[in-house]
Amino acid sequence: MDSLQIYLTLAAILFSLGMFAVMTRRNAIAILMGIELILNAANLNFIAFARFGGMNLTGHIFAIFVIVLAAAEVAVALAIIINLYQNFKSINVDEAQQMKQ
């Protein structure tokens, strides 16, 4: 088993764990953490391809780009969650269903 495959397998496990968290959690913070896991799985893929797949510098740049994006995303998402909490006194996403008919 060569090293690229190991990395990719690790990334797939990470992605699946993130996906699972997003789908099953009701807590908004937990969903956010799942998303972070998914992003990091993607980052791991970029790095692995940069090292073994010939993506070279592009992979690094993308990885850094994704980290910046994730930071911004967290900032926005946390702001949303604070607002959510202020409105519903809860961060359970199931309770935010005013717009459902």
């Binding site: 997003v22 789908m23 969903i31 996403v93 199931d94 459902k100």
Partner: protein, 683 residues
């Protein structure tokens, strides 16, 4: 411009202008504008006198001026209109303007305080304009138009006090009865026009002389024209409107229904005399003679002073028509002129009496007593001397007493009748009509005079408040009384027994123009007239004095009791009193069947046609519409159009269920989809 044309244009249009001013701004003028109409009519009087004086100075029987302009021109024919001025026109213009002026002046007091005072004068002006149109017309077209216009003014004036139902109905009756005659008149005119192609008298005469229309057709045309005269001059059987027309104000009765308009029929017959065939003339003579006698017998039993005069007018018009029929048409025109004066005078006299009665009744606060009933009068001679003398003179004139005008013309007519009988040795009944009517006329006129002015007052209370009428009403009476004296019609001759004078010189009989005619020539008529003059005069004097004496004994001396004779002659009295039941006969045999027919047609129209056919269409349409409506609504709307909506909604409802609003679900679906896509790709 020709002086005659100028004069006639002024005479024609001045009253029309006065009418226009009166009808639009009359009420806002000072004195409600009566001076506008009066000055217009006085101007026509002055102009007519000027024309008349010119005619007398000229003294030419053949004087004739014709002015004509094209009114309408099409490819096929041309209609021209204009004025014809000859001696007949000038004399008639003078008659119209004298009586019309008298009427205008009389109305100053008679109509004083009427709420529609200015409109009354407007109508009088309209009438004067229309009547002058008849007189001046040189064609049957303008004649017919003016003829209808006088009919309109007559209608408006009879119904002037339209608050009274009787007046409104009388106006309608006059208008509709005239319509019957006018249909015949129109047919007559169109027969002549179709054959000759022109309306003007000159063309019609030359057309007839050239034989463009002959025989029975010409007789028919003549009878058609005569039907117009029967309507307008109220001859039997269309006489029924004239007595009712007395509902109008008295000056109107004098002007329109005694002196001028009703004479228009006679005037028209005088104008068209040369084209009348022998057959037509005989019919005319019989209708005229019958009316003269028949109306006179009705007048005997009238108690309303105006009704007596109305039937007397009918009778005198009958005389004129009979004179035309017998060929003595100058006598007819002579009588027309003379009758206009004394009959207008009688009506003004009656108006004066009624005015006095009204004032007295007003003072007594009595609104029930009839101011026109002679049984409420009596003895008025001392209270109203001027009126009395005026009416006495006119009554002497109408009765045919020598020294008064009526004697001359009546004598001429009776001589004409006698001459006809002598020429033809038949038609003796006309003599009976003529002399009989003369006797009765004298009788009923003096019955009226005695009942109204002589003996003791029958209602002393009313009598106590009677006063002579104001001066404005007496002026016409005095003037017209003078004009009832023979001398004005015979100058330069002063023999009271002969009708020779300026009139007989200026109005010459005309030869008949009918081709192959059997009409007697002018010479023959003149000859026989000459022969019959003396016997006719003597007979008429005898019958007139008989009638007068009878009235004297019955109503003045009371030797013969009117009541006893009424009882003895009960059936005759009833006939006369009920006007021979003519109105009832018309009602029974004309109006009621017609109303029944109208009812029946109305039934057909409304109950059958409307309700079944017309409404049937409606019902069928409604029924079809219902079916179409059901098909449209239930089938198309509900079935097809709405089902799209319903199905869409149903689909939406079922699809909605997967829109849970939970992010996790969507993510799950997305992940599943990715998995499925991957599997598909791998396969």
């Amino acid at each position: 411009m020709n002086i005659f044309l100028q004069y006639s244009l002024l005479i024609y249009f001045l009253p029309l202008i006065a009418f226009g001013i009166q009808i639009f701004i009359g009420k806002r003028l000072p004195r409600q504008g009566d001076w506008v109409s009066i000055s217009a009519v006085l101007a026509t009087l002055v102009l007519s006198i000027a024309l008349f004086a010119g005619m007398l100075l000229d003294y030419n029987p053949d004087f004739k001026q014709n002015f004509s302009f094209t009114w309408l021109e099409t490819v096929n024919f041309k209609i021209s209109m204009g004025f014809l001025i000859d001696n007949i026109t000038i004399i008639m213009l003078l008659v119209v303007s004298i009586v019309s002026s008298a009427s205008h002046i009389f109305s100053l007091k008679y109509m004083e305080g009427d709420p529609r005072y200015s409109r009354f004068y407007a109508y009088l002006s309209l009438f004067t304009f229309s009547m002058n149109g008849i007189v001046l017309a040189n064609s049957l077209m303008l004649l017919y138009m003016s003829w209808e216009l006088v009919g309109l003014s007559s209608y408006l004036l009879i119904g002037f006090w339209f608050e009274k139902d009787s007046a409104a109905n009388a106006g309608k009756k006059a208008f509709l009865t005239n319509r019957v005659g006018d249909i015949g008149f129109f047919i007559g005119i169109m027969l002549l026009f179709t054959a000759i192609g022109s309306f003007s008298y000159a063309d019609v005469f030359s057309g007839v002389a050239a034989g463009k229309i002959t025989g029975n057709l010409l007789t028919l045309a003549g009878i058609g024209l005569f039907m117009g005269a029967v309507g307008k001059s109220a001859q039997f059987p269309l006489h029924i409107w004239l007595p009712d027309a007395m509902e109008g104000p008295t000056p109107v009765s004098a002007l329109i229904h005694a002196a001028t308009m009703v004479a228009a029929g006679v005037f028209m017959m005088v104008r068209v005399f040369p084209i009348l065939t022998l057959d037509a003339l005989i019919i005319i003579a019989y209708i005229g003679g019958f009316t003269a006698f028949f109306a006179a017998t009705i007048a005997i039993t009238r108690t309303d002073i105006k009704q007596v005069l109305a039937y007397s007018t009918l009778s005198q018009l009958g005389y004129m028509i009979m004179a035309i029929g017998t060929g003595a048409y100058t006598a007819a025109f002579f009588h027309l002129v003379i009758h206009a004066m004394f009959k207008a005078n009688l009506f003004y006299g009656a108006g004066s009496v009624i005015h006095g009665m009204h004032h007295s009744l007003h003072k007594l606060n009595d609104h029930k007593t009839d101011a026109q009933d002679m049984r409420n009068m009596g003895g008025l001679r001392t209270k109203m001397p001027v009126t009395y003398w005026a009416m006495l003179i006119s009554s002497l004139a109408i009765s045919g007493v020598p020294l008064f005008s009526g004697f001359l013309s009546k004598d001429a007519i009776l001589a004409g009748t006698l001459a006809l009988v002598e020429r033809t040795h038949s038609h003796h009944i006309l003599l009976f009509f003529g002399f009989g009517a003369a006797l009765i006329t004298a009788f009923y006129m003096f019955r009226m005079i005695f009942l109204t002015f002589h003996n003791d007052p029958q209602k002393p209370k009313i009598f106590a408040h009677i006063k002579e009428s104001p001066t404005a009403m007496l002026i016409p009476l005095v003037v017209l009384s003078f004009l009832s004296i023979f001398i004005f019609y015979t100058l330069p001759n002063v023999n009271p027994l002969s009708d020779q004078g300026w009139f007989s010189h200026l109005i010459e009989p005309q030869e008949s123009l009918v081709l192959g005619n059997f009409n007697p020539s002018v010479h023959e008529i003149e000859e026989s007239l000459h022969h019959s003059h003396i016997p006719a005069m003597i007979t008429s004097l005898i019958v007139a004095s008989l009638g007068l004496l009878l009235a004297w004994f019955m109503y003045f001396k009371k030797i013969l009791s009117a009541e006893v004779w009424t009882k003895r002659l009960r059936p005759l009295y009833n006939l006369s009193f009920n006007k021979y039941y003519i109105d009832e006969l018309y009602d029974k045999f004309l109006y009621q069947p017609f109303l029944k027919l109208a009812d029946w047609v109305a039934y057909l129209d409304w109950d059958i046609y409307d309700k079944y056919v017309i409404n049937g269409f409606g019902r069928v349409t409604e029924w079809v519409a219902k079916i179409v409506g059901i098909a449209d609504y239930e089938g198309l709307d509900q079935g097809i159009v709405d089902s799209f909506g319903r199905n869409t909604q149903r689909m939406g409802h079922s699809l909605r269920k997967i829109q849970t609003g939970k992010i996790q679900n969507y993510v799950l679906f997305a992940a599943l989809a990715v998995v499925i896509l991957l599997i598909i790709q791998m396969l």
